[in-house]
């Protein structure tokens, strides 16, 4: 079992035009920076990207949008990206906006082997259009399908060569649920260690979900809203 790749270019080598990708991170936090850079460099197109946000104009998925690599974006909040909003309003980019909890839980369903979930989020709104509604105990719920993605690309703090992952603080966000949801999951980590160095009790994502792992380089970890208080 060899899951270790040397860098992002190698880890994403077989991602091709038209594929569906799950990309971890919330805003710019916990973003698989190395893989996004590699995807931009590779220049593959017609991608469907599932990610909570669309990055900002010059970082994260925003870089892929700028190069028109994305055919369809499935997200919950895209307010930080002017180029995204422009492509959306002009109809150049296909966009499916879905509630954040629905996005996370559709990942979870995929990773748990469940075809669909029921959630009240979006009942009575345009999100419900065309979806099956079921009533349980007097309340309406939408049926939402598990994601079916070719690749999941996530960022963790530490990982071992078995693919076990540990995240740090709120950089955890969507990464664990997306890691479970890909047909092939690629994890980039800040620290790559040998089996036995991570405490089994502290593993967030068991390695069975992770097919490829590499140690990322030059993390920028950009801060979107730097807010501080006076001393």
């Amino acid at each position: 079992m060899n899951k270790v790749f040397s860098n992002a270019d190698e880890a994403i080598h077989d991602i091709t035009d038209g594929m569906t990708l799950l990309l971890g991170g919330f805003g710019l936090c916990g973003l698989p920076e190395n893989c996004i850079t590699a995807l931009v460099k590779k220049g593959i197109k017609e991608l469907t990207c599932i990610s909570n946000n669309a990055g900002v104009d010059d970082f994260g998925i925003g870089l892929m949008l700028r190069q028109r690599q994305v055919k369809k974006m499935i997200s919950s909040y895209v307010g930080e990206n002017a180029e995204f909003e422009r492509q959306l309003l002009s109809g150049e980019l296909e966009v499916e906006l879905i509630p954040q909890g629905t996005l996370a839980t559709r990942c979870l369903a995929a990773g748990y082997g469940m075809p669909a979930i029921f959630t009240p989020a979006g009942v009575g709104t345009e999100v419900a259009i065309g979806k099956e509604i079921r009533n349980f105990n007097g309340k309406d719920y939408l049926m939402e399908m598990a994601f079916d993605a070719d690749f999941a690309i996530v960022k963790a703090w530490k990982g071992d060569s078995m693919g076990n992952l540990v995240y740090r603080s709120t950089a955890r966000n969507f990464n664990p649920v997306m890691a479970m949801a890909g047909k092939i999951t690629i994890a980039e980590v800040e620290e790559l260690v040998e089996p036995g160095e991570l405490d089994p009790d502290q593993i967030h994502t068991p390695g069975i979900y992770v097919h490829r792992i590499f140690r990322g380089a030059n993390y920028e970890k950009r801060i979107e809203q730097r807010t501080v208080r006076p001393r």
């Binding site: 919950s76 930080e80 909003e85 996370a104 959630t119 009575g124 709104t125 709120t170 208080r229 001393r231």
Partner: protein
Amino acid sequence: MLDKTGIAKRIAREIKDGYYVNLGIGIPTLVANYIPDNIDVVLQSENGLLGMGPFPFEGEEDADVINAGKQTITMLPGSAIFDSAMSFGMIRARKVNLTILGAMEVSENGDIANWKIPGKMVKGMGGAMDLVASAENIIVAMQHVNKAGESKLLPQCSLPLTGIHCVRKIVTELAVLDVLPGGGFKLLERAPGVSVEEIKNATAGKLIIEGEIPEMDLS
């Protein structure tokens, strides 16, 4: 009339000891500054944190520690981190006691619109649709009228909805109002110096006024 800080102060009075509270972006974020010291409250940030603390001191920002508004924050002792699915799991399962969020429009039957202006603005719903669909207690913090001077408290929303029959209470720069289960905005309190007549004029939806309406106590 209240400023944004005043709205936040008034809403802070609705928070009770032991509450787990989710604060939305904008005025709701300010509420954290006015939670009384003598009660224990845990703030939930839907990107995956319970126990959100204040902004860090300059130089102590950590890119891995942010809130749902993508702002750098701190974690208080006793904080817990979890993934996005669990975050909305605890919201859906009604473990979060109170949700405070902003709105573009609220209707007299408790519908809320706050995520999209067709053809103009599409930021997305983020976690708002999940929150309003599941929270048992939702307070809306907003301006009573929009920039064009039109009421945001309407017979029905004109913008795409975020959720239906969910808003329980509204605090604006003019008033505190309950949204009644059977429909209608029940006027509870006036902001300092604001007359019932002014509130009437700023409310397009059905306004219910019973007896004397007291002025807010912000002391």
